[in-house]
Point group: C2
Chain length 426, copies 2
């Protein structure tokens, strides 16, 4: 396609999505849930042909010399197919939130006023490599009564096309419009530029991928964007604190997996427990090869830990999202200094306090300005599944609209409903 | 001030607002409510000096040849001062929503997950003429634990300065930072450009005023904007319907006041009741000098009404927000056509159905894609006070974040709180 054709093509997708959105918003919950269960069935039935289409992407990736972890993220195994199928069934089993009316109360004039939860309309999703995201996004879109336009990475185009065909088949079998879930069929980059600049057809954009991609999209989008750029998450070990628990949680928060955005990147330790806590967590990190970027005070305490990889932290380290076996470490006076450090250097994603002190816990919860704030838990829990949202379409570090892990509620808005008996304004 | 000085000045206001916002978010409800009650007291005590400052604006406006309605909107009377003072007291008496935790539920991992309502941070408000908006915005900001930067119209600068002094006095007396409410003291237009482009200091912009102003701000703002451009509201008279009620409500919705954004601009009438309803509402509108822009079918019915001002409607009429004694009138087949017309030509502000049919009412509520959807009530009720929000900072026709009349809830966001007992992710 040339640029003009891409623009026309995207306008067509947009118009079709807008029309499908109106039908999805009016559809009943039973049809939407039926589409999800049909989709689960089709995924299982078509697991082999899906893997054959996926193999073409994998071969192309191997030929292009993609790194093994990248190829791994592309792969549709029987296990990943079963997982997304189960995800669809779980969503189908969840209570419906579309049309839910809350807070309906009579006002002095006699009118009753409440709020009804309704779909946002059309969302555009831009993502890379993992083809299972296609099913996750499609199923959340169907459950929430929206329409969506999905733009996956070019490396997964064959897999995504095959998955999108199954989604549309399930929609049609359930009596819903196929255009409620559309995959952008061209890998032309111009398509992204078009998708993010059609406010008449697309209500919100959800980009998932590298920071560069998300920054570009946020800058150029002409509609709201649900996004997070960084996950510079902190774990603060307070005084007083259960040190065994703190070691276990600080270990998990950093080392359970290094790449997720909710992994802890900064460890803050109250002065009163530093001498007891730091050598113990230092030994754990040393055993796992985690490098510690330390302020002078923590470095002094950690100096005695055998095999510890201790480096002096620079100012930049406090801002860093390492996504690697590296962590910044700092001794602070108290919870007040910890909160100030987090609000200054953090990315407003997820931060935890480990404490026995109720007042400190309450202050931390109230004053840390992050999407998720935790007491005595691993930052790794910041996730739509773990929060009981059924699934997660993305994570937002913005404060406007949805914040933190975004599930089906984040794909809806609340409109006002007024029920009267002929009241007039005087 | 020159442009450079204005930029520096606005950056200073921004930094001060950001710092004040952190203190406001941490302040207790008692202090915030005390500030509101102190402000009410100061407004009453200082009513005379306020009117003296206001008189300087009024003189300048008269000398500049401003139209009488404009001068009227500028005027601070004992009554408007008492009204805003009472508004502050009403807000102080309302339940506090900052820090409210909802939906706290245990998840399978053992962690308990819920959401805490917290202030957005800093909002910037841009408005024209009516100086009482200064107090409304300041009081909503204080109640919701935010900081704000207010930019009023140059014609009201003396009044606004005097009001802002009282607000800051009340804040300080309550132990809160004066910078929690700052008025832009320069009338330089460059200040607006700066205010809407400081994402590091300002989280959201709320413009109130003419459509041109709001369009410009929305286009140039680098932060989210809470706004509505048009109020092309509809009243649909369904079949079956209580005709007496329909005449009363359709009259009120159009004629109770012509200028508000929630006044009805389009009247849709089901074919089955057109012959009975139209002559009656036509006579009411004729008596009040309301011009009717009609489709052929309604024009034919209205032809027999004495003194009726009937014109043929053009396609453009269906889009029009008249804000005047003019209304578009169209006969439709049924509720389905009414919904399609409203979703196509309306501005997603406020639309009402007048009906006895329960199924039609439910369908209208569900499918009309507007911020407020009403059954058997005047569209004029779309208002923060009437909805029980205490006050209204603005009205949004967007679907993202707050929708419809925006009160203190719209100035807050929900962050996730996680309460654990040392849980780790496996």
């Amino acid at each position: 396609m040339n640029a003009l054709n891409v623009a026309e093509y995207m306008q067509t997708l947009g118009l079709q999505a807008r029309q499908a959105a109106a039908r999805m918003a009016a559809a009943d919950a039973a049809s939407r849930n039926r589409a999800l269960r049909l989709l689960a069935g089709l995924l299982r039935e078509q697991a082999q042909p899906l893997q054959a289409d996926n193999a073409r992407d994998l071969e192309r990736a191997a030929a292009a010399g993609l790194a093994e972890p990248m190829i791994d993220r592309l792969r549709l195994t029987p296990k990943t197919i079963e997982t997304v199928a189960q995800g669809c069934e779980q969503l189908a089993a969840m209570a419906d939130i579309v049309g839910e009316v809350s807070g309906l109360r009579q006002q002095p004039s006699g009118i009753r006023v409440g709020q009804m939860r309704v779909p946002i309309g059309v969302f555009g999703m831009i993502f890379e490599s993992r083809p299972n995201v296609t099913i996750e996004a499609a199923s959340l879109s169907i459950k929430s009564g929206n329409a969506c336009i999905l733009r996956g990475g070019s490396e997964a185009i064959e897999s995504n096309k095959a998955l999108a065909r199954l989604v549309q088949q399930a929609l049609v079998q359930a009596g819903l419009p196929a255009e409620a879930v559309q995959l952008v069929q061209t890998t032309d980059r111009e398509a992204v530029g078009q998708l993010i600049a059609m406010p008449q057809f697309v209500d919100v954009i959800i980009p998932r991928g590298g920071k560069g991609l998300i920054e570009r999209i946020s800058r150029d989008a002409r509609v709201p964007v649900i996004k997070h750029l960084d996950g510079n998450c902190h774990t603060y070990v307070d005084d007083p604190c259960d040190i065994d628990m703190a070691v276990r949680v600080a270990d998990n928060a950093k080392t359970q997996k290094y790449s997720p955005c909710n992994a802890t990147e900064g460890l803050l330790v109250a002065r009163g427990v530093a001498a007891e806590f730091l050598p113990r967590i230092g030994a754990v990190y040393a055993a796992k090869g985690v490098e510690m970027r330390c302020d002078a005070e923590s470095a002094a305490v950690l100096a005695g830990v055998p095999a510890a990889k201790v480096q002096a932290a620079s100012e930049q380290d406090w801002f860093e999202e390492y996504l690697a076996p590296v962590i910044s470490v700092k001794v602070v006076a108290d919870v007040v200094e910890a909160i100030a450090h987090i609000n200054r250097y953090g990315s407003h994603h997820t931060d935890a306090i480990l404490t026995r002190d109720h007042v400190h816990a309450q202050q931390f919860l109230r004053e840390v300005d992050s999407a998720s704030v935790m007491v005595n838990a691993s930052t790794r829990f910041a996730d739509g599944f773990e929060y009981g949202l059924g699934a997660e379409i993305g994570i937002s570090t913005d404060k406007f609209h949805a914040r933190g892990p975004v599930g089906i509620e984040g794909l809806t808005s609340l409109k006002w409903v007024v029920l009267g008996q002929g009241e007039v304004r005087s």
